[in-house]
């Protein structure tokens, strides 16, 4: 079984600062990988490298066996990768339905030739799946944070991507919203067969939903393994203690 996503020695520098250093990582299909690390560890930068917002200075990224480093963001997106944002970025002046329609219309090949009517139907199905059906005609700037996060998830899902990158999908949510989101994430894998990489700060939750945890610290991968092993890893504990002392 080949990896769906494979990073080999990926490095990204900004001026004198190395944000991501020599990170290698393989993600299997239908796997949920939790990506954790203290603030500034390079988690979001890694997402930006995978999605083509930045190009790596060094190393290779393969998606479904094809080199994707060097492609532009929209080309990578069309191969089947979607993401959500740490600070939510729905299209504010569009309705919830229109947001999801953009997702559907610009989906992966085969889905991409949709007519708007079909895209709307597909968007509505996703909204039902997310429990946002009643908000279809609302301008997305009028949603609350929890709804905006679900909207972003939906916008990614309607494109029917193989790989979903969720950047702090749970941060800022109420406990009941977190439960709902956790349920959604496991259903996305179970019912839709997606692969997910999740950046998260809520430690208890990420340990619970991930098959595997990858820990970044100062841009380097310091641990990679099952949640229960990671929780006891002395290097990881130290990295987090270091942050707590700041």
């Amino acid at each position: 079984m080949g990896a769906i996503l494979e990073l080999q020695g990926v490095t990204k520098r900004f001026g004198g600062l190395t944000a991501v250093r020599d990170v290698s990582l393989a993600v299997a299909p239908r796997e949920i990988v939790g990506l954790i690390g203290p603030n500034g560890a390079g988690k979001t930068t890694l997402f930006n490298l995978i999605t083509g917002v930045y190009r790596p200075d060094d190393g290779r990224i393969r998606f479904n066996g094809e080199r994707t480093d060097g492609l532009s963001a929209y080309q990578i997106a069309r191969r089947g990768i979607r993401r959500t944002y740490q600070v939510v970025r729905p299209f504010p002046e569009m309705t919830v339905l229109e947001n999801l329609m953009v997702g559907a219309i610009f989906g992966t090949p085969g889905q991409g030739r949709l007519l708007p009517v079909e895209a709307a139907a597909q968007a509505r199905r996703t909204l039902e799946f997310l429990g946002l059906g009643g908000r279809a005609e609302t301008l997305s700037k009028h949603l609350n944070l929890g709804e905006k996060k679900r909207l972003e998830l939906g916008r990614a899902l309607t494109a029917d991507p193989a790989l979903l990158l969720l950047d702090e999908a749970l941060a800022g949510l109420t406990p009941s919203e977190i439960d709902h989101a956790v349920d959604l994430i496991s259903r996305i894998r179970r019912e839709l067969g997606k692969t997910l990489i999740i950046v998260e700060h809520v430690m208890r939750t990420i340990m619970k939903i991930s098959d595997r945890i990858v820990v970044l610290h100062h841009g380097e991968k310091i641990a990679d393994g099952p949640p229960d092993v990671i929780a006891r890893d002395p290097q990881v504990v130290e990295a987090y203690l270091g942050e707590a002392m700041l």
Binding site: Y74, R83, F106, P116
Partner: protein, 322 residues
Amino acid sequence: MTLLALCARPTPIALLLAFAVMALIPLARNPELNGYFLTLLDLMLLTYSLNMVVGFSGYLSFGHIVFWGLGGYTAGMLVTTIGRAIAGELTFSPYLLVPLGGLVASAFAAVIAYPILRIRGAYFAIATFSVNLAVQTIFFNVPVFGGAEGLPLKRFMSYQIVPAFYWLLAFGLLAFLSSYLILRIKLGYGLLAILNDEDVAQTMGVNTTLYKILIYIIAAFFAGAGGAVWALAQVFVDPENFGITRSIEMFVAMLLGGVGTTLGPFIGAFIYFAIKDLLIIRFPHLHLVFFGGIIMIIVLFVPGGLVGALRQHVPGLRRILE
């Protein structure tokens, strides 16, 4: 799904009717009326063009008038060149050259699109300003283009306002239909995504560069065609065809009607002329002062213009006005 089925909605039907009624205007044989509506249709066409870029993609094309001017000079240069070659008046209707005006404007847009659309926000707005200024300077100074005196065309063609009127009417209708269609296809959704958040649009698979270039080229065509008709209707073209007054007018009309809507430029052009007529009677020299104020009031209090305000406050109209 055909274009016809798409248009079976209140907004396109109402506008088709409105254009049909306007087609009757020349039957009145009133030159003053013809002239009035010629100016109005010219502004409407320009506003549709501007709205495609500003309203659909969010790129503030401040120097948009450059396409109108280029269309005008294309028509002017063709008429004088052909006229000199055959040493007399054109043997065919000069208005057949109008599409070429649009194509030249589109070609210019295609050339500058890639570099200039990489710049965003205020930088883009100012860059388009500068492009217009640079082009105007060239036409002002290069003798081939007639320099500051411009190109008088009356040796090679006669003054005909009625064909000009119908050409503008046809292009106005075409501009509306194009706007309406664009918003309903992939291109429109991609542009709306760019307008809302260009970076997000990219990571969602929108080829933002291509889409921006496409809409810029399409919009330039309509502005260029409009400029060509105008030049032929005036039987004259000069560097003032790149002037600031019309730039102001199209922004006011677009904002009055409603940025980003397909009905907006149509309504906006009418409101603009209604207000202008009122103001000119009372304040012959101050009307542009008021328009400056009107722009600020719209931006601060009614950013959606008339169409936007109606859609917002009258829920029943939301599905009707587009």
